[in-house]
């Protein structure tokens, strides 16, 4: 790790000011991605602005027809929250599948969506549930927020404050783990919303989380695993690495999508 200056922000405005004013400043949330890369000297921010003591960034609340979760809410809190388990059980299930207990007790929702790792789980939930990411500057719908591999629409001094998940009628997440890292090799989140069906895929695509319109249309006609028979995604555009080739990932997208639909129907 290189030397850096640590700043503990006590409020969002202060954090925003520090981000704007300081050179090479980065926010520190759960540190589960940032700190390992700093330890390996792959990232070298001159300044770290710690969000952990900022008031009001953490918490889970049902607001009308939406579940609103603060950016600093840990994965373990989401996984074990009776409110989440009641409102969107698939989301609690997803949070419980992230990493290992240590990671889940530190890692945060805000850090995960801001990082937009192509193998992370939350981006699939955000996209499938048509979540809104609320920042210090604006509200962004998930479709606009995630822009590519480790890329988001966030501006340098913009902070994720909370994420609002409209309640679906039915939803489920099926994850096929990378056996080494436990991130998603392929994860498929299926949500039956009042107006539409959404199928979002993480882990598989070369440009990050994506939706599968063909699956969505078929499921709209008939919400059943059988509706996906014969449908698939092309291997083209799937990523390929030592843990699985593009063809395998493309195949898993179909398998996990069917399983997610079946789970959502239970």
């Amino acid at each position: 790790m290189y030397n850096f200056t640590y700043h503990r922000a006590s409020g969002l405005r202060q954090a925003t000011n520090l981000l704007g004013k300081l050179d090479e400043a980065k926010l520190l949330a759960g540190g589960q991605t940032l700190l390992p890369t700093m330890k390996q000297r792959l990232a070298a921010p001159a300044n770290l602005v710690d969000l952990n003591k900022v008031e009001g960034l953490s918490g889970i609340e049902l607001q009308g027809r939406a579940l609103v979760i603060g950016a600093m809410t840990r994965h373990a809190e989401v996984a074990s929250s009776p409110v989440v388990q009641q409102a969107i059980p698939a989301l609690a299930h997803l949070a419980g599948l992230i990493g290992d207990p240590a990671v889940r007790h530190m890692g945060t929702l805000g850090g995960s969506v801001a990082n937009n790792d192509p193998n992370a789980d939350y981006p699939a939930a955000c996209l499938a549930l048509a979540a809104t990411i609320i920042t210090t500057k604006r509200k962004l719908i998930a479709d606009e927020f995630f822009t590519g591999l480790f890329e988001t629409a966030l501006m340098p001094d913009e902070i994720v404050v909370k994420v609002s998940f409209p309640l679906p009628k039915k939803a489920a997440y099926e994850k096929f783990r990378n056996p080494a890292s436990r991130y998603a090799l392929v994860g498929v989140f299926v949500a039956k919303r009042p107006s539409e069906i959404r199928v979002a895929v993480t882990g598989a695509g070369t440009s990050g989380v994506f939706r599968v319109p063909a699956f969505e249309e078929a499921l709209k006609k008939r919400f059943s695993p059988k509706a996906l028979d014969g449908l698939g995604v092309p291997a083209d555009g799937m990523s390929s690495d030592i843990h699985g080739g593009a063809e395998y990932r493309a195949h898993l997208v179909g398998v996990m999508a069917k399983r997610a639909v079946a789970a959502a129907m239970e």
Binding site: M1, Y2, F176, P179, A180, S181, I242, G244, G245, H251
Partner: protein
């Protein structure tokens, strides 16, 4: 059996300090004035080092020295060596290339050290290392053992044309050819034994310290064999004469072979400590360990098994290419030769065997012993061949094995080994009962209803342990003898210290060795302490690997205890004024036969030291005896593992749903510790079979270079393990011990792959059987499945 004697499941004495965080590992030790060293490693797998500019690094804050391979050569520090000579078929000696502790002129793998920085803090050392300018001329690299001998492949070392270290063979080619010529059936397999990264819980570490007053060096080091490290560093590297070098192995957190070897880092720490005049500490980082620890396995093999009438095995032949990496590590040459081909007879009465092994250099991390070392590779070849043959011959794999088992002992195999004792059918029968093999067909049908494929696989393995008879290994090229030593020191109050030349890095010697002493001397186990891991305390010793500590190390203790008892009887005879021949020693009491006279162990110990009851002319005072024990043969643990798997054909995921292990380890000292050893071994074997894999890209970069990409087995990958034993005591050593440390890792891979291939009905599956690999195999085999 007493509550703490041989056979008792005594809780581990050492665990109190480990569980309460009081273990003392190398990294826990801080020496006054200690400095820190960082190794700058080559990012290229194969490159000429055209220049190294250390000038600006030397001016960085806190830097004490920046050293290169040129400095090492300038100080005439010798190369690292491989200590086991193998000769090729044509009689030429193996081609051992120079292995300097810091690369000089050329880097031969990604991770090869090219320079070091010694600084006040580790951060300063790392900062300065970034200022070292190394100019590389990148050369083409070769990583695939099957391609490295090709004409036109990059040439790694001048001494080894075609990157070939040796072309060795064992067995009778003519007899084997004849048997194949008249065979009724031949089973053929191409096998890749995947490369593994050891990953002991505690990373390697070293502290070198030089005392300019006495000119003595001390090395604290994560080593499995401190005396061997001292010998090599003194006699070959030439750091200091043996009596001027002390090697201390404090608590060591796992080794699995990877801590046997003498590595560049400890040599450099010692050398640098003299250069900077202060202790120098190195602690390997986890990611660094992927490049700094010797890897395991990495064989490419073609094997064939010939059968005569009725499934009788007549001959086996194998051709193996063994990847030894960029340099020959300490024992690397022995692993794919005498620890491999000598086990190709398995548990079977095989009249003829012929094995050829080419050992090759590639631009990869050096490869050496890893839990099982050669024997897992051999078992995989034999047990896969047998299982596949049974399927091809439409025979029950159990019947085929039973028909060919060695049934009378001793049994001389065609590949050196002389099996002393065993009952292979007994282990198999017991395992089949526990695994409920009879109920398998019903379980398979039930799984099919759920869309799952279920398979059952056997592995009836054998291993050669208790390494090893010195004369025998000497005749095969070993540079050392493989006896073990012990010293039993009885204190005046009767408590006992046992100094052993074997070394515990997780095996539990402090408990099992104390159990032996407790039983023999009839004293409480608390009154016994085991001392190991310090060349200044312990007489010479050969360390721990090859499941040798029980069979060889404890046998040395038995010998020393016998001497102690004999001496104590002499003392007791003076104490009780009786003839020595009338003294009986039992349960910690000395009695005079036919009388009611008795003396307790502690009384006799005291009198040995106060020496009031005898004169110096009659008896030497004191009660301390040493012994060296050299085994007369290897030991042959064997057994039967049965693995049951369920496969999700849609994803290719394998779930191990059942595991039964019935092992014959001979006499068992502590069943709880043995069970733990079997558990760990199976987990490692399952890791190799299902997920572990060191993958290089064609340029020689390790793709699976961290836990993000290198999959370790987890608890969830294993079902509850059903472990049992059968016992045929080893006739070759006083306690009847065979050894248990490696069995699981040796048996498991074949059991897993046999089970998976049984489930998916195709043999075309390499390790690791990852989900995508199984999925692809299922798809390729789909027609066969559909036809059923």
């Amino acid at each position: 059996m007493s509550a703490t004697g041989i056979g008792a499941a005594v809780r581990r004495k050492e665990d109190y300090r480990f569980i309460t965080g009081k273990g003392q590992y190398t990294d826990d030790i801080s020496r006054p004035g200690q400095t820190h060293i960082h190794f700058l490693r080559s990012p290229h797998a194969h490159a000429k080092i055209t220049s190294i500019d250390t000038a600006s690094a030397k001016t960085m804050p806190g830097v004490l020295a920046v050293l290169t391979g040129a400095d090492l050569a300038g100080d005439k520090i010798g190369n690292l060596i491989c200590g086991w000579m193998i000769h090729s078929k044509d009689g030429t000696p193996m081609k051992m290339a120079p292995h300097p502790a810091i690369a000089h002129g050329k880097a031969c793998y990604a991770g090869d050290p090219v320079a070091v920085v010694i600084a006040e803090t580790l951060g300063q050392a790392r900062d300065a290392a970034e200022k070292i300018e190394v100019d590389y001329e990148v050369l083409p690299a070769v990583v695939d053992p099957a391609k490295t001998q090709e004409a036109g492949a990059p040439q790694i070392h001048e001494v080894a044309p075609q990157n070939t270290i040796f072309q060795w063979h064992l067995g009778e080619a003519a007899a084997v050819d004849a048997a194949f010529a008249s065979a009724k059936h031949v089973t053929k397999l191409d096998i890749v034994n995947n490369r593994l990264v050891p990953n002991a819980m505690e990373p390697r570490a070293a502290i070198g310290e030089y005392d300019s007053g006495t000119q003595n060096f001390t090395l604290w080091n994560t080593t499995q064999n401190p005396h061997v490290a001292r010998l090599v560093i003194a006699a070959f590297v030439g750091m200091a004469p043996e009596h001027k070098l002390r090697v201390i192995a404090p608590d060591v957190g796992g080794g699995f072979g990877s801590k046997i070897f003498i590595y560049p880092e400890e040599v450099v720490c010692l050398w640098a400590s003299k250069k900077v005049g202060r202790p120098v500490k190195w602690v390997c980082e986890r990611a660094e360990a992927f490049l700094a620890d010797a890897h395991g396995r990495d064989h490419v093999t073609h094997a064939e098994l010939a059968f005569g009438e009725g499934g009788k095995m007549t001959a086996l032949r194998a051709k193996t290419i063994a990847n030894l990496g960029a340099y020959m590590s300490t024992f690397s040459s022995s692993i794919p030769t005498y620890l491999y081909a000598t086990l190709l007879s398995g548990q079977y009465d095989l009249p003829a065997i012929y094995c050829e092994v080419d050992a090759v250099y590639t631009n990869t991390v050096p490869v050496d012993a890893y839990r099982g070392a050669g024997r897992p590779e051999a078992t995989f070849v034999v047990e896969r061949l047998v299982e596949v043959a049974a399927r091809e011959l439409h025979m029950d794999p159990v019947e085929l094995r039973r028909k060919n088992f060695v049934k009378s002992f001793p049994h001389q195999t065609p590949v050196i080994m002389n099996y002393d004792v065993g009952d292979y059918d007994a282990s198999m029968r017991k395992a089949m009962e526990i695994a409920d093999v009879n109920g398998f067909a019903a379980r398979r049908r039930e799984a099919e209803k759920r869309g799952k494929l279920r398979g059952l696989g056997y592995s009836t393995y054998i291993e050669a342990c208790g390494i090893a008879p010195s004369q025998a290994v000497g005749s095969l090229g070993a540079g050392v003898g493989l006896w073990e030593s012990a010293e039993v020191r009885v204190n005046p109050t009767g408590s006992v210290e046992v100094l052993t030349g074997s070394h515990s890095h997780g095996q539990g010697h402090e408990t099992t060795f104390a159990q032996l002493v407790s039983e023999r001397l009839g004293i409480p186990i608390e009154n016994v302490s085991i001392v190991h891991g310090d060349t200044d305390k312990v007489q010479f010793g050969m360390g721990t690997y090859g499941s040798r500590s029980g069979a060889v190390g404890m046998s040395a203790i038995v010998k020393a205890l016998e001497k102690v008892e004999a001496k104590a009887k002499k003392v007791a005879s003076h104490l009780m004024e009786a003839a020595e021949s009338d003294i009986v020693f039992k349960d910690g009491q000395f009695t005079v036969a036919g009388t009611d006279k008795s003396a307790a162990w502690a009384d006799v110990a005291l009198h040995a030291y106060i020496a009031h009851k005898f004169t110096g002319a009659q008896l030497e005072p004191g009660l301390k005896e040493g012994a060296f024990y050299d085994p007369t043969n290897f030991t042959f643990p064997a057994g039967c593992h049965i693995c049951e798997v369920e496969i999700d054909p849609e994803t290719g995921s394998t779930t191990i749903v059942g595991w039964t292990a019935v092992d014959d380890f001979g006499t068992i000292i502590n069943p709880m510790i043995v069970e733990g050893q079997v558990h760990g071994g199976i987990a490692q074997g399952v890791g190799q079979a299902l997920m572990e894999n060191a993958v290089y890209d064609k340029d020689g970069q390790l793709m699976s270079g961290s836990f993000m990409d290198y999959s370790m087995p987890r608890a969830e990958n294993l079902p509850p393990l059903k472990i049992d034993t059968t016992v045929t005591p080893c006739p070759g050593n006083p306690l009847g011990i065979k050894g248990c440390g490696e069995a699981g890792a040796i048996a498991a891979p074949a059991a897993v792959i046999n089970a998976i291939t049984d489930a998916i009905r195709t043999e075309n599956l390499a390790m690791p059987a990852t989900a995508p690999a199984v999925w692809a195999a299922v798809r390729a085999a789909a027609p066969a499945l559909a036809a059923e």
